[in-house]
Structures are given as structure tokens and as C-alpha cells.
């Protein structure tokens, strides 16, 4: 079946109940979404499916036929980070980095559908299903709040 990932169309052959996470990581070698728990409990596998943040470990391949999948690899690169990526880097929102991809995609969805105004409580609400064990969340909330409000020195970080 057909799957579009970060703008590129792929022909994927796998059993229909194979999880999107497995397809991305093992078939397409898109490794930014992580296998944190494989039960939808941690958010580290979060990708955008037609713009909505979803848990790739819970989605069977058959359910995303024809959908547009977005992962961190499609957001930006070292020499041109996206606004959300620059915000995470500037605010030191990643320590070990393992949960970062999931948070970044959830934040990206928040930025795209937002209007630039947001309170910290709303950020916390929107990200509440994501776990981080290293940072204590403070700098993640700072980064996402800044990204939504576009208070980021876009482009290259400090």
C-alpha cells in the first residue's frame, strides 16, 4: 500500500496490522520516532498523521493508507532548523534526547493550529500524554511556549 512520509511516497508491503511505528523504523528506516513502550503510554513514537499528533505504536498500517505522515526528519536540518526545533535547541529542552522527537511533533501540531497566543497551562494540557524522565519538563514547556508564540531566534541557534 501507499504511504507518504515527509512528502515522499512509498510503496510498503507488510501485514495490515503492522504498526506504523514498525513500518517507519524497520521498513523505511525513519528512526526518529522511538519505541518507548509500544503501548501508547509515553508519546515517544508520536508522528503527525494528516497534521494530527498520533501514537505510531498504536496505529495499524491499514488505517493510514493514503495518509500523509510527518516526522522530525521532515521538519528541518542542522543548517536550517524549523521554528520548533530551534526553540527546543535554544531552550535546552532535550537531555538524552530519546523523548524529543515525540515532543517536537506534538509541539509542531500545536504551532500550526495555534494563533500565536498560548498560556503555559495550555501547553501543559496539550503535551500531557508525553513522558520525559530526564528534564523535569520545565525547559520543554519553555521551548514549546516560545515556539507557539514565535519567540524564537529562528534559523541558527545561539
Amino acid at each position: 500500500m501507499r504511504l507518504t512520509v515527509n512528502g515522499t511516497e512509498h510503496e510498503v508491503v507488510a501485514p495490515p496490522l503492522t504498526t506504523l511505528l514498525h513500518v517507519l523504523r524497520e521498513e523505511l528506516f525513519v528512526t526518529s520516532p522511538k519505541a518507548g513502550c509500544q503501548q501508547g503510554g509515553c508519546g515517544a513514537c508520536t508522528v503527525l498523521v494528516d497534521g494530527e499528533p498520533r501514537r505510531a505504536c498504536l496505529i495499524p498500517l491499514a488505517a493510514v493508507e493514503g495518509a500523509a505522515i510527518a516526522t522530525v526528519e521532515g521538519l528541518g536540518e542542522a543548517d536550517e532548523l524549523s521554528g520548533v526545533q530551534a526553540a527546543f535547541h535554544e531552550h535546552y529542552a532535550a537531555q538524552c534526547g530519546f523523548c524529543t522527537s515525540g515532543f517536537v511533533m506534538a509541539a509542531q501540531a500545536l504551532v500550526v493550529r495555534g494563533d500565536g497566543a498560548i498560556e503555559r497551562e495550555e501547553v501543559i494540557e496539550a503535551l500531557s500524554g508525553h513522558l520525559c524522565r530526564c528534564t523535569g519538563y520545565v525547559k520543554i514547556v519553555d521551548a514549546v511556549t516560545a515556539a507557539v508564540r514565535s519567540e524564537v531566534t529562528t534559523g541558527s541557534p545561539a
Binding site: Q95, I124, T135, V138
Partner: protein, 366 residues
Amino acid sequence: MAKHRGRGFATIEYPTGMNQNGDPSQAWIKLKPDGRVDVFAGTVDIGQGSKTVHTQIVADALGVPYDWVTMDNSNTDSSAVCTGTFASRGTFIGGNAVRYAAEKARERILDIASKELEISADDLEIVDGEVLAKGAPDRKISIPDVAGAATYVYGELITGNGTALKPLAEVDDDDGSVTVEPHSAISYAACVIDVEVDDETGETTVLKMLQVYDVGRAINPTLVEGQIEGGAMMGLGLGLLESSYPYYPSVEHRGEQFGSYLAPALEDLPELENVILENPSVDGPFGAKAIGEMANNAQPPAIAAAIHDAVGVWVTEMPATPERVLRALDAKREPRREGKRVIYDEEISVAGVSADGGQAFWGVDA
């Protein structure tokens, strides 16, 4: 019926390095022909930022811009021993290893520069990637030129290697005494926690944590904040939410997923206020001590003290779950008094449950 506020306090200390020492970290450095610096350190970065901190240390120990330095800790063929990333030894012991390596490389740089400039090495200094004559900075040579001269004129690979190792401190098995200091440094911290306890549900909400850490020297203050904040949430989990064995000592009903094991989530985040103090160590890199491990030690006792301040009960089995708080409120136990002894918690003590009062433990030689 009501929510009650309370405040608790704790002051703690924690040693830097493996207890009793004997844990080496080694590093080595080489310069490329254009003067850029390659560091081979063995310290594993588990997120705390050792790759960053060690790069900063090398940059300043050598006198070069930070972005001239590359850090490779990726494998055991090119890196030497670092006993491990634990015991809060990465910045101090791992950092000293890269610092000593940098200092050795610096000596080689100055030696070659002194030949090129015909000035004694003692009269030279390195600033921002250039070797300058002290007091006469127009007499100078860049490190790239020094490295080029080393490669193509003098036939030398500019390197330095360093080992940080404090000798093993033997302990006397009879009285616990040592004659060699058994740590590299000691860090201190204090913590004030404000909570709100619901006396009907037993739930405790942490409202605010004020944390003060003496880290000796904050090599990278933002990374230190990262440890304070991450540790705060881990301490909150340790004090209120998490348990591998909810019915300890029973092994039943263990949580096997994130829904049944309560790792701290965003909704648990209180207000955090961090204060970083710098009381430098004697011989850590640039005076640094440590913070990583101790970062989750002060919160549990401060939370328990705050719960007592709020609702008048002492919960001494962690985590202070709503069930434990409610049971303590129901029991409202006062300590037993016997002469000048004030005796708490007898029902859970060894003497309280053991067939012979715990003679195996209380009965050993004085």
C-alpha cells in the same frame, strides 16, 4: 473535608566519585594539522551533558574557541577507560581527565611555539587559539600554524593524555574508619517544598520546590539547571508516586506499563525555583564538584515533612501515597514514651515483626 498547606525542609550532602575511590577516568587529545582539537574521552553521555561539559573544559584548558574542539566518546577502540557515568563522577573525574590531557597538549603547543617565536615557553600564553608573548601580544603565532609546524617541520603529533585517579581508601571493617579521603569532593543542597494535602482523599499536591545547590563551579549553568529540574521531578516521584512493589514486601501487583506505574508527568510539575551556589572544590576542573546523583535526594524528606506540617501525620514509608496518608490520619498515632525515649513506628520496626526481636541485627557486637 479540607485542603491543608504545609512546608517542609531538608539539607543534604553527597560525595563526588565512587565511594572509596579507585575509579579512574582517562582521556587523550590530538591536534589536527590545522590546529583543530580531537578529544577521546570514555565518559558516557546519558543525557546529563558530559560531552558538552568536557568540550568546554578542554576549550578553556587549552585556550581555544569552543567550536575548535570535537568530542569522541563513541567506542572503546579509540577511547580509554572511564569507569562509568555514575557516582556523580563525570564532571569532576572525567572532566579532570580531559583537563590533564589538555594541559599536557598545551605544554607541547607552547614548546613548539617557543621554538618558532624564539621566546621561552614560560613567557608565552594562549588566548583564543593564539600563542602570545606575555606583555607583548604582537609577538604571536596561531595554534593552526603551530600544528602545521609540528606536522611538517618538527615531525611531532601534538598530543596529551591524562588520568584522574584517587587511590583506593581502605576501610577498617571493625569501626568504619579510613585514613585516605574516600571521595573527590562533597556537594551540598537544601530544599524547601510547599504542598497542599487533601485530608479526605489523602492526595498531596506539590505546589512549589525551592532548591539550593552548591556545585562548586557550574561549568554550564543551564545543564546544572537541567539536573536540578530533572532531579526535582524524580524526587517528587520517589516521594509521592512511584513504587516497584506497591504492597512491599509482597511482590504482587507490580506496575508493568506507564498507566500502572506512575512516572511523574507534566501535570505533576510544580513551580520550581533554583539557586546555584559556587563554593569551589580544591581540585575539581575549574573548581567543579557534582550534582547529578544527589538531585533527587532532598525532595522525599522535604515532602514528608511538608505533609506533617499540613495535616499532622508522619509518613515514613515512601511513596506517601494517598492511602498511606489516609491510614496515618485514621491512626493518628502518637509516639510511645518511656522515660526520655520518644518511640515512633514500633509496629513496622524489626522488633515489632521479628520472632526474636531482630537479634540477628540488634545483637551484634558493640
